[in-house]
């Protein structure tokens, strides 16, 4: 018997992702991930000054404002072959990594944990045993009996007040919830602590970027933070010392709390290390540039074919032709049409002409385009980045993977091999590794900035000059959800074309020209669904990718029915 389930929307954050699956004999047999909002944000920057694009494009998504802003200036700088002063690279790197850490923490604790943690069960926990368990696995200061007891009291009051419904998509009491009441209580305590810590990251981005959630300090050619060792109102040593304090706090939480919690989820849900594998070809980019030209990086990236690490080919510089020559987008199953008809288009020649039909299972069914790398779908995201790190022999990446396995060994006989990262829980493991790496990069860039200022270099900006004629540029970034690229064509100093190929496009894409599925669909196939009315298993896998379609697609014109009565004034 076949049961069709439609989940819409899936996301706990902005965006309209819809998942249609057919369940046969208790397992998912067919899957259609789709975006139900129109994409086309890029059109808004056409014919504008390329120096202004980033201020507009950071509005693509409310979560990744700085991410899109920096990617946009990188695209214009690549077109101009404009070098970026070291101080500006370091400041941007600090904003990117601080943001990434916040994004990873929020993804795990606020957006995904409730798929694994039964909040109501925590009421039944013995706080003393919860504290004992937590303290035996980590010396995190937030694991004491007082914390556990207090968390439970607060939870009681909260549930008693009938407000639990504000947590969207919580499947309390589901048969697939497997943590003990004590571990559930510990997780709820950490959920609250994560809220405290993530704002350390927000504070760093805010201090450097002048404002959150929309940063103000970028410029094509650098950043607009004047650096001074004495004066107020600019980036002073005092402000940098405050940033260092935030960095240290974040480090303590990442290593002693987040890291341990991911190990616990992996230890108690080991079957999810073998489920939810997405596309087995991986694409990431080198990032965290530490020279002015974008040729030397802290974070390695590249392409891995068929999950075989020996096939790793690095993407070794910004604007690498191996990268730019490989990316194209198909609209065979997306609600767009290309002038030339069938086939794929590289982003620099990309078109965004809507062609809406109904939702057609075998025809067009999504507003998301289908990107490919040399004709094939690729999985982007923390898994791709960590695998690239392992393949490139990056010492830091390998060491964090080893440390995660060390933590796991105290809890279970399971081991996370690199190949197991391509799984539902593996994606959380890869993400905590990336969070820790981002912390290392953040700390290192802080030091590099201090040292460079110490040498007397205060430069933060190179003036961009726009020649007559046409030029193309790409901005690459290893964003929290994976590879992001902005593609710009500039003609006589104005934007002639602009396309953003975002991580969720790679992952949530419909089928491509060759009928190949992207990662969301691949990952869902074969997933058991115990209760079609409460498809928790499907959500676990989709949430592990951190779906955010805000930037992949946009705009809904659906009038949703509502029970609340409102009166016009």
């Amino acid at each position: 018997m076949t049961t069709r389930i439609t989940i819409d929307p899936v996301t706990r954050i902005e965006g309209h992702l819809r998942i249609d699956v057919e369940v046969e004999n208790g397992k998912i047999a067919r899957s259609w991930a789709s975006g139900q909002m129109w994409r086309g944000i890029e059109k808004i920057v056409l014919d504008r000054d390329p120096r202004d694009a980033w201020t507009i494009l950071q509005r693509i998504c409310g979560v990744c404002t700085a991410v899109h802003a920096i990617c946009s200036v990188r695209a214009v700088e690549d077109a101009l072959k404009l070098e970026v002063p070291l101080n500006a690279q370091y400041i941007r790197n600090m904003m990117l990594t601080a943001h990434a850490i916040q994004d990873h923490i929020v993804h795990f604790y606020q957006l995904s944990a409730l798929d694994w943690v039964d909040v109501e069960s925590a009421l039944k926990a013995n706080p003393s045993r919860a504290a004992h368990f937590a303290e035996s696995h980590s010396d995190w200061e937030g694991n004491s009996y007082a914390v556990m007891a207090h968390t439970q009291e607060r939870l009681k009051a909260f549930i008693g007040s009938g407000q639990l419904g504000v947590f969207t998509n919580g499947y309390w009491g589901h048969s697939q919830m497997k943590l003990s009441p004590e571990i559930n209580l510990m997780a709820v305590a950490h959920y609250l602590q994560a809220l405290e810590v993530q704002r350390c990251s927000a504070k760093i981005v805010g201090t450097l970027g002048a404002k959150t959630p929309h940063i103000q300090n970028l410029a094509v050619g650098g950043v607009s933070n004047p650096i001074a060792t004495d004066s107020e109102g600019v980036l002073t040593i005092e402000k940098l010392m405050q940033i260092k304090e935030q960095i240290d706090m974040i480090g303590a939480f990442l290593h002693n709390c987040y890291f341990v919690d991911v190990a616990a989820i992996a230890a108690y849900y080991p079957e999810w290390l073998r489920m939810g594998a997405g596309v087995n070809d991986f694409l990431s980019t080198s990032d965290i540039p530490i020279d002015t030209k974008g040729t030397r990086f802290m974070s390695p990236g590249g392409y891995i074919l068929g999950g075989d690490l020996s096939t790793f080919r690095p993407i070794s510089r910004f604007g690498d032709t191996y990268f730019t020559g490989g990316v194209a987008e198909s609209v065979k199953h997306a609600w767009y049409t290309y002038n030339k008809g069938a086939g794929e288009l590289p982003p620099w020649k990309g078109e965004t002409t809507p062609a809406y039909t109904e939702f057609q299972d075998d025809g067009k069914y999504s507003w998301v385009k289908a990107p490919t790398f040399y004709g094939k779908p690729a999985q982007v995201g923390p898994v791709a980045a960590v695998l690239a790190g392992v393949a490139a022999g990056d010492r830091k990446t390998i060491s964090y993977l080893d440390r995660l396995n060390e933590k796991m060994s105290a809890l279970s006989a399971e081991k996370i091999e690199p190949s197991a990262l391509n799984s539902t829980v593996g994606r959380h493991a890869a993400r905590v590794i990336r969070a820790c790496l981002s912390y290392e990069y953040l700390k290192a860039n802080w030091q590099l900035l201090m040292d460079n200022i110490g040498k007397g270099d205060m430069t933060t900006f190179n003036q961009p000059i726009f020649p007559k004629g046409t030029m193309m540029g790409v901005g690459q970034e290893e964003a929290p959800r994976g590879l992001l690229s902005h593609w710009v064509v500039i003609r006589d100093g104005r934007i002639a074309n602009y396309q953003a190929v975002v991580p969720s496009t790679w992952l949530a894409a419909p089928k491509n020209d060759k009928e190949q599925l992207a990662s969301y669909d691949v990952a869902l196939l074969g997933t058991p669904v115990a209760d079609p009315a409460r498809p928790l298993e499907a959500l676990r896998t989709i949430h592990s990718f951190d779906p955010c379609l805000a930037c992949a697609v946009h705009l809904t014109d659906v009038e949703r029915k509502t029970d609340i009565q409102v009166t016009a004034l």
Partner: protein
């Protein structure tokens, strides 16, 4: 619920002290946040942001009143809203009213509104409010000024119909602030 310190989880004292510095209770002003949300790239979807920008041109922010351009942010809003006594949200809202209608929701109506998904970015704000409720630091009073959009197509300008009512929206926010006895300082631009 706001301002209660007894309900706070007794941990991560280091975070509190260093981020905020030790604050004496009598120094805490009643804080009101005026939050404009929406996507300014989708014409009327961004009416909330347009409204608070108009408001910010007239007033300087003070310790009592913060004017926040929330865009379509999610958890990033948490530190900005945390511990606020009053929250005034301005947003585009699709509520089945005639185009360019203005509605005002308050108290119990607001969480009810956020649970239904009338606009794409509410999922984010509802999660922020849920987290704040859980922590016990949700603003005591939440008022929402909503505008039924006319046009949601790509574009950075409001529709003429909504634009014509923008002044009214701003006045309504000012009236809310007056009710709360908090008057932000007049902007230097206008002095």
């Amino acid at each position: 619920m706001t301002g209660e310190s007894s309900g706070e989880i007794p941990l991560l004292s280091f975070v509190k002290d260093s981020v905020h510095g030790p604050v004496l209770e009598e120094e805490l002003p009643e804080r009101t946040v005026v939050l404009g949300i929406g996507n300014v790239l989708l014409s009327d979807e961004g009416v909330g942001v347009h409204a608070i920008k108009a408001l910010a041109q007239r007033y300087e922010e003070t310790k009592q009143v913060e004017i926040v351009d929330g865009g379509t942010a999610g958890m990033e809003l948490l530190p900005l809203l945390e511990g606020a006594h009053h929250l005034i949200v301005v947003d585009a809202i699709r509520c089945g009213q005639p185009p360019a209608s203005i509605v005002r929701l308050e108290g119990e109506q607001v969480p009810a509104y956020f649970k239904t998904k009338l606009s794409p970015h509410q999922v984010g704000l509802s999660d922020v409010l849920a987290a704040l409720a859980f922590k016990g630091t949700i603003p005591g009073q939440v008022v929402l000024i909503g505008v039924q959009p006319v046009k949601l197509s790509l574009g950075m300008d409001l529709s003429p119909e909504v634009n014509a009512r923008l002044e009214e929206v701003v006045s309504m926010v000012q009236a809310e602030l007056a009710k709360l006895q908090c008057r932000p300082a007049i902007s230097q631009n206008l002095r």
